[in-house]
Symmetry: C2
Subunit: 315 residues, 2 copies
């Protein structure tokens, strides 16, 4: 019998993952569906219900005390709604109420996916033991979350730490969010690849134009590929330094597909951070790779639900 | 008899102000010295001791339970030291220990001056009732502080909310802090004046080239003066939007000498904010002028000391 069992949902533009997770963060049961991202909202909700139905079929389900949801954002934890950029059928979709209805009235905790990743890294990963931390995902987009004063800081609406959409280049390129020069507009995987192609880099015979292919070229010494990663690193460094100057994390944890480039990203990132994190109280900031794998979103959503269940609101 | 009486110090590059402040934030006794900013550290400390000595001569002094210090930064609340940029004689100066020694062992609470202003605005000013707020001073420099989850958020070292030194223009002009394109480098009073002069604006017969003179010219319709304020507003907007995206304040309070320009600053600031604060959860952010006057630093330092005294650490 698990006295600390919760259900977790990790909702993204590609997949909807679910799990039953115990108080040690172990995943005991899993379920998953592809996200029908281009379908109407009810169709997307049906996929969530199928995931929950599969979890509920487990004999362990009756022990679940709460549901934690980490969702692609923006989310609105106050209204209990989600509006994931890549799921157009969900705009202000009442996910919390719908999940509560499906699960027989279990308490539901909603946070953004960057906040969920952060909860996971703080609980079991690279930010463990750090009372003030920034955790980031650099991938198709750039997301993040904060730990402040020893606790997850989702902010009032569950979106805090959204570092991908702070502007580090106020006259820079328009970002799909409507702003200019956002960290994501410069440092995301697709933008690393775009910049390399614009600079004259060409993919190999396999035609792979992903950021991973650019990283491979950079490792082989391609100057254009290196320059594109350096520019991404510069934007990430400016964003990390801004966050450090505002809320004083002592560690920045960077995960996601682009972080898999390893030193191709981390070496210029650490160099650029010296240029932007100049004040005495931010100079000690360290940057490290994430430790949690693809289950980070599930484990973090579970962490949020477990914290709530203990009577300590996650907000 | 005041049961909630504390001593407060507001230490800047120009003056060292002190006061005895009661639990309602009323200033009962005052003392002040010019800061001998270019002298050696002991000379500066002597000015602090004179201020404290004058306060201690009051019959009310015996009721003081703690000392709150708001100091020009950076400060280090962990080490109890200060290194004000404009007071070169103080580098890692052990201000907390020295003040404790002078005051017979009273508990001492140290925060940065931007954090102190924020404590004052949250207690009695424009941020009252807001659980998540950004307060700023736009003056010779640009400083700030944060209220998060209903409480002052000094951060581990007492410098959190230092918005003047986040980069909003990663390829921009070098800032004296060592970084590039900092909010302060674009939006401070001296930079507003510099840009106006570079653009061809000329002062009137009085030769006044302050930001206040540029503001007067802007009000009279001078296009170069207007453009310089608009650029400052753009940088402030990008910085405020970044802060909102990271920690979700619902209000930004802007004070300091440059804010006295009124609509010359606030009108383009509110317009520019729409360009940079684009995500759904930051669109509701409002920008308002500060309400506290020149005593904000003292009142805020007192607030920090009173909070500490109540057993709730300000950090």
């Amino acid at each position: 019998m698990h006295t600390d069992l919760v259900a977790a949902l990790d909702i993204g533009g590609t997949k909807i993952a679910g799990a039953l997770v115990d108080g040690q963060g172990r995943i005991l049961v899993r379920a998953q569906r592809a996200t029908p991202a281009q379908e109407d909202g009810e169709t997307v909700m049906r996929a969530v219900e199928e995931v929950l139905g599969e979890l509920a079929a487990s004999p362990l389900w009756d022990g679940a005390r709460a549901v934690g949801i980490g969702s692609a954002g923006p989310v609105d934890a106050v209204a209990g709604t989600v509006s994931p950029v890549n799921v157009p059928g969900w705009r202000g979709f009442p996910l919390v109420a719908r999940v509560r209805a499906v699960t027989g009235g279990l308490p539901v905790e909603l946070i953004g996916d960057g906040v969920a990743i952060t909860a996971a890294e703080h609980w079991q990963g690279a930010a463990r033991g750090h009372d003030n931390a920034l955790c980031m995902v650099v991938s198709t987009g750039v997301g993040g979350g904060l730990v402040l004063n020893g606790r997850l800081h989702p902010g009032p609406t569950g979106n805090a730490g959204h570092i991908g959409h702070i502007s580090v280049d106020l006259d820079g390129d328009l970002c799909p969010c409507g702003s200019r020069g956002c960290v994501e507009r410069i440092a995301s995987g697709p933008n690393i690849a775009r910049r390399a192609l614009e600079g004259g880099w060409r993919p190999g015979p396999d035609g792979d134009t992903s950021a991973a292919a650019v990283a491979a070229a950079a490792r082989a010494g391609d100057l254009v590929a290196l320059a594109s990663f350096e520019r991404a690193a510069q934007a990430l460094a400016a964003g990390i330094a801004a966050t450090a100057t505002l809320v004083e994390p002592d560690i920045a944890v960077v995960g996601g597909g682009v972080a898999k480039a390893g030193d191709v990203l981390f070496a210029p990132l650490r160099t650029a951070l010296k240029d932007y994190a100049t004040l005495s109280f931010v100079q000690q900031l360290t940057v490290v790779p994430a430790q949690m794998g693809t289950d980070a979103g599930l484990v973090g959503a579970a962490a949020a639900a477990l914290t709530r269940k203990a009577g300590v609101p996650a907000v």
